[in-house]
Amino acid sequence: MAILVVAEHTNAALAAATLNTVAAAQKIGGDVHVLVAGQGVGAVAEAAAKIAGVSKVLVADNAAYANLLPENVAPLIAELGKGYSHVLAPATTNGKNYLPRVAALLDVDQISEIIAVESADTFKRPIYAGNAIATVQSSAAVKVITVRSTGFDAVAAEGGSAAIEAVATVSDAGKSAFVGEELAKSDRPELTAAKIVVSGGRGMGNGDNFKHLYALADKLGAAVGASRAAVDAGFVPNDMQVGQTGKIVAPQLYIAVGISGAIQHLAGMKDSKVIVAINKDEEAPIFQVADYGLVADLFEAVPELEKLV
């Protein structure tokens, strides 16, 4: 029994979510192989070969796989996947994009965003915005699964020495083309991997006021997130959104500033180790999940906090 993990990468570097997915694969048990698909991904393949516990790296390096267009990579993964008991991918926007297509090509159901492995065929996953946890069992010949990275501790990025093998198959559906992308630039840690996250909501008032949070975040080495209200109001770009429809984070410390704590926001952060809420409304639902709550005006509390930490 072997497990295929599809690597998440930026073409130049392997993404951390891959390490959490390999951790989930190890919990299932069996040989772990990693597939790196893309164009010009030699360095990523080498990084994947060094991951502790990986026994083989498959590399599909072709122009057809650049930008991981699902029409092209899904047939590749489905073809390779037939030889495995499990096919896993991180529940990133890429993984969520191509993996259900792979499952349908294999004619099996997919299990989305698992947070725990009970056994080789039984998994736990959150439903209803994290308000219930379902235990599901799969009888599929190939189990196709996306992995929520906050559910598993990353394996070591170094220590392995897997063989690298090129995959010759090229599938180019010719139905879609990459036009361009606009990536948000940030020097702060990546939101989903940060140890500390400082998030702002509607209470920030405007985009300019987020500078208070950036200053605090820089002092703490934290990433900055936001609620949907802050994104919809145009304060910050949408890739900063934490919640059911944004990113799922589980840092050591989550500081929610001017966020009421709607169900959809809590879905994205309630597994954080310590939650701090700063809000002037003492009835705000966020105080029900906060370990430490401070009822105060954020425009006074945040600069003071920045000074004291």
Binding site: T93, N94, P100, Q110, I133, E181, E182, D239, V276, Y292
Partner: protein, 249 residues
């Protein structure tokens, strides 16, 4: 062109759901149901394409119990032209739903299928992509902008690091993200008119589709509750607690 919009009846997004005592599922008796928010966005986008003259007909379809007719009427009141209910009493998995939708696509031959990116009950985020595999159409998931130009559709997608734009050959599948549009409200006259719009009911058997599944739910539990926290009086006290008690900074 014809646009097909699959929609889903789900528990209203404001309802705080409760897990049943026997752990068999979530208690949905007497709970307010509504159109899945992402599906509303999908209907809105299709209606806007019609208003622009790009789309000629908007067909909404759902797979579910007869009660889902209510959500189809809502979609008709928002501007869809006709509706199809694939009536199934069982709770179906995404693959089964995608197979049923595939059969509807074969019958209806739409140029564009617009779905929500995920349903807020199962949180699967699978059906659109699976329909893509079954139809062989290209897919533009998590769309925040959709521009139809000739025989192609340009879709701007919300990805982890920002935005990505892809060009897809038509026919194609698009799944909506929250920022694609702001759905309109149904006006009373339109709700009245929607009652007269056609709504066909068909069965999975009539479509010749098997809805067997390889996944079963063993149990559903409430998530672990967090320990009650405390309120601090000042920023200084907060910093002291974070440093010495929680030891996170």
């Amino acid at each position: 062109m014809k646009v097909l919009v699959p929609v889903k009846r789900v528990v209203d997004f404001n309802v705080k759901v409760r897990v049943k005592a026997d752990n068999s599922g979530v208690d949905l008796a007497n709970v307010k149901m509504a159109l899945n928010p992402f599906c509303e966005i999908a209907v809105e986008e299709a209606v806007r394409l019609k208003e622009k003259g790009t789309a000629t007909e908007v067909v909404v379809v759902t797979v579910g119990s007869s009660a889902a007719q209510e959500q189809l009427r809502t979609a008709l009141a928002l501007g869809a032209d006709r509706a199809i209910l694939v009536e199934s009493a069982d709770e179906l998995n995404s693959l089964a739903v995608a197979k049923l939708l595939n059969a509807v696509v074969e019958k209806e031959q739409p140029q564009l299928v617009i779905l929500g990116k995920q349903a807020i009950d199962s949180d699967n985020n699978q059906t659109g992509q699976m329909l893509g595999a079954l139809t062989g159409y290209a897919q533009g998931t998590f769309a925040s902008k959709v521009i139809v130009a000739g025989d192609k559709v340009n879709v701007t997608r919300e990805i982890d690091g920002g935005l990505q734009t892809v060009a897809l050959n038509l026919p194609a599948i698009v799944t909506t993200d929250l920022r694609l549009n702001e759905p309109r409200y149904a006006s009373l006259p339109n709700i009245m008119k929607a009652k007269k719009k056609p709504l066909d009911v068909i069965t999975p058997d009539a479509l010749g589709v098997s809805t067997a599944s390889t996944v079963k739910t063993l149990k559903v539990e409430a998530p672990a509750a967090r320990q009650a926290g405390i309120k601090v009086k000042s920023v200084a006290e907060l910093v002291e607690k974070l440093k010495n008690e929680a030891k996170v900074i």
